[in-house]
């Protein structure tokens, strides 16, 4: 990955339209739209899944049928017609690929447009990338290095076939099938996603990274990710997303489950830049995601997210602090512009003794958008000596946007210690003029102010991701003041 300079940013800023708005002309193999048990059986058959998996999906579907779409979030959108969605689209079946040369050149072109140079990543970035294009993993790299350490990093479909015991043991354990409407839907129809297992005592030597991409009109994307860090292991996982611009709304309902066994640590970082819709609020991705991690004794899970895209974001990466002394962290930057809605935050469930959690949320609203932080800190009677620190800061740009904070606290143990801080500020004309007077133009001034505001969270991202995130923040807010 070549270095991204301020000059590159300048060029990007000049071209404020969604920059990844292109389509790749790859042959698709699609199912008809709509959802019933036959479709689910067909998805499962297509993926050559064992019977237990097919049954698991069908059971999920039956659960989903009894559920209704939640409407408590502070978001407005046209509810999708779930029978108008195509639940499976995959690049046409191809033989197993041994090298990049065998990958569809069109697909490689897509990667090039996205700035993902796989060869260079192999050499420079020390990143193993499992690229998911519309549901089917096409190419995984660095398998050899990982294999030596006993690390499994593959598509979830492959894991279902190759590591059924691990999948059976953990799939749906942290996010049960009936957890919520979208999680149930995902459990029924998930197309693909990533699977990662770090063996006992192993420190994963590189950042594991997956680039997701929605790539076909009217195709819902139902990713399923399962990360298991065995006792005393460590892994840092990166998830970065882009999607081409569309007129139709696209539904995305992913489920991510993390399991950190005793003394293990998982860092999970996301940069989300899906199509947010146009300036009038038309189009854009609906992002209804369930992300949750389970911490056993002395384990730690850190969620870091930079959410700039999607028309609607509904997402609460959470931690169940089950084991004594376990630690949960949530660092978030959510940017909304034009007509975007974001309702995002976290849940920290303290069950074990001396469990600790930290929540740092930075919301930036511009245009006519609405940005909500919604967080729950729950301390169970068993969680003696639990501690939480929450900080929610909102930055407003202009007079037509909204920032909202919904902190929920449930304490069932008197020894718990909680702190909550919240601020709301506005980028002022005085700040801009001050920067201008020092020779910094308005665009750069906003970038500077926003980066300063977001710094505590940006600092939590791995280096190369932090640069990308910074660039995204700036592009997302271009033209929103003055």
């Amino acid at each position: 990955m070549s270095k991204y300079t301020e000059d590159d940013l300048r060029v990007d800023l000049e071209n404020k339209k969604y920059e990844f708005g292109f389509e790749t002309d790859i042959e698709y193999e699609d199912f008809p739209t709509g959802l019933n048990e036959d479709i689910i059986r067909a998805i499962s058959a297509k993926k050559e899944e064992p019977e237990w998996m097919t049954d698991w999906r069908l059971e999920s579907f039956r659960i989903w049928l009894k559920m209704t779409e939640p409407n408590w979030a502070n978001i407005k959108y046209q509810k999708p017609d779930f029978q108008a969605i195509r639940y499976y689209a995959a690049p046409k079946a191809k033989p197993e690929l041994a090298s990049l040369d065998e990958v569809d050149p069109e697909l490689l072109k897509t990667f090039a447009k996205l700035g993902i140079n796989i060869e260079e990543q192999k050499r420079l970035a020390n990143v193993a990338v499992d690229i998911v294009v519309d549901s089917v993993s096409v190419k995984t790299t660095f398998q050899e290095t990982l294999r030596e350490k006993g690390i499994i990093f593959c598509s979830i479909s492959e894991a279902i076939k190759e590591h059924p015991d691990l999948v059976k043991q953990y799939l749906g354990k942290v996010v049960p099938r009936g957890d919520n409407f979208y999680a149930a839907l995902n459990s029924a129809v998930f197309s693909d996603g990533s699977f990662c297992y770090i063996p006992k005592g192993v420190r994963c030597p590189m950042e594991l990274s997956t680039y997701f991409r929605i790539n076909q009109s009217g195709t819902g994307q139902f990713e399923r990710t399962l990360v298991i860090a065995d006792e005393g292991s460590y892994v840092s996982y990166l998830e970065g997303c882009t999607a081409p611009s569309r007129d139709e709304n696209q539904l995305h309902a992913a489920v991510v489950e993390l399991i950190a066994l005793d003394d293990a640590e998982i860092k999970y970082s996301t940069v989300q830049n899906w199509y947010p819709g146009n300036e009038e609020g038309k189009g854009g991705v609906f992002n209804f995601v369930t992300k949750r991690g389970l911490c056993e004794r002395n384990a730690k899970i850190s969620w870091t997210q930079v959410e700039t895209g999607s028309a609607v974001t509904w997402k609460y990466p959470s931690c169940i602090l089950k084991g004594d002394n376990s630690v949960g962290e949530f660092y978030s930057i959510a940017v909304t512009n034009n007509h975007q809605y974001a309702d995002t935050g976290t849940k920290m469930i303290h069950i074990g003794k001396n469990t600790r959690s930290t929540i740092i949320s930075k919301g930036i609203s511009a245009g006519k958008s609405n940005n909500s932080y919604r967080g729950l800190v729950k301390v169970m009677p068993t969680a003696k000596g639990a501690r939480n620190f929450s900080q929610c800061d909102s930055l407003l740009m202009g007079n037509e946007c909204g920032a909202h904070t919904f902190p929920y606290i449930e304490i069932k143990d008197p020894t718990a210690q909680l702190e909550h801080e919240a601020t709301t500020s506005k980028i002022g004309e005085d700040q801009i003029f001050y920067c201008n007077q020092r020779g910094i133009d308005t665009e750069r001034a906003i970038a500077l102010i926003v980066n300063g505001f977001s710094k505590e969270v940006l600092n939590k991202l791995p280096m190369e991701f932090a640069i990308e995130a910074q660039k995204l923040l700036e592009i997302s807010l271009e033209g929103s003041v003055g």
């Binding site: 001050y434 920067c435 007077q437 020779g439 910094i440 500077l448 977001s454």
Partner: protein, 247 residues
């Protein structure tokens, strides 16, 4: 260097505040503008710097012979106009160092220069911060956040020295300063002064002028310069106040 001719300005959709200012500042000179509250002193500095809240209705501002009335504030900054703010704003999360780095490099780029290398930049920062007695940890604090009045003003003068402008306008730089801080700030300004640049001091009190010797003192009242003299005028004002001039 700076020529202001018959300048009239008003607040957008508001009252006229400057009512025909004439002022000429040549390289190497220090001018002081004094006057009672509400005379338009701060408005004048804002208008020269290009703040959008004001509308110039008549007259012109020439900088090095060029009309700058239509220039954006950053363009005026790039040409070498610096304003030390009476109330410098806070920018949380942006360190003093990062801010000055951005300011300096943006100005260099606008003038067709390469960005300054990290080593050279650090050298310059060290040199100027030492002149002002600024400690290292100060440089990594968020800009103006939690700064005392003295720290804010010292930071303004530090930025001035880093950017090395042609014209420095110091708006009430002495307000809120104790005597030690005032001496340090004045010392910085005196070190900055050269044959090639000019300083415009805007102040309520004669006190600052004990430390920075002006070549000219102007009295601004009700949007007009009503009297100009040398530094003895400042002493006279200190003694008599403004009333004898106003009537």
């Amino acid at each position: 260097m700076l020529q202001i001719k018959n300048l009239h300005a008003k607040i957008e959709d508001g009252a006229e505040i400057l009512k025909g200012i004439n002022l000429e500042i040549k390289p190497g000179e220090v001018h002081a503008i004094m006057g009672p509250n509400g005379a338009g002193k701060s408005t004048l500095s804002s208008v020269i710097a290009g703040k959008e809240d004001y509308e110039v209705t008549e007259g012109e501002i020439l900088f090095e012979g060029e009309e700058i009335g239509e220039d954006a504030p950053e363009e005026r900054a790039h040409k070498g106009i610096f304003l030390s703010f009476q109330y410098p704003v806070e920018i949380p999360g942006v360190t003093v160092t990062n801010f000055i780095k951005a300011a300096l490099n943006e100005t260099r780029k606008a003038n067709g220069l390469e960005e300054m290398g990290a080593k050279e930049m650090l050298g310059l920062i060290r040199e100027n911060s030492e002149k002002l007695g600024i400690r290292k940890d100060f440089l990594s604090r968020s800009l103006n956040e939690g700064f005392s009045g003295g720290e804010k003003k010292r930071n303004e003068i530090f930025q001035m020295m880093m950017l090395n402008p042609k014209l420095a306008i110091l708006d009430e730089t002495d307000s809120g300063l104790d005597i030690d801080a005032l001496r340090i700030v004045a010392d910085g300004v005196n070190k900055f002064r050269s044959e090639g640049n000019a300083v415009l001091l805007i102040t309520h009190y004669q006190r600052l002028l004990n430390y920075i010797q002006p070549d000219f003192v102007h009295v601004l009242a009700d949007g007009k310069i009503i009297k100009t003299g040398d530094k003895s005028l400042a002493l006279e004002l200190e003694e008599k106040g403004y009333d004898w001039l106003l009537n």
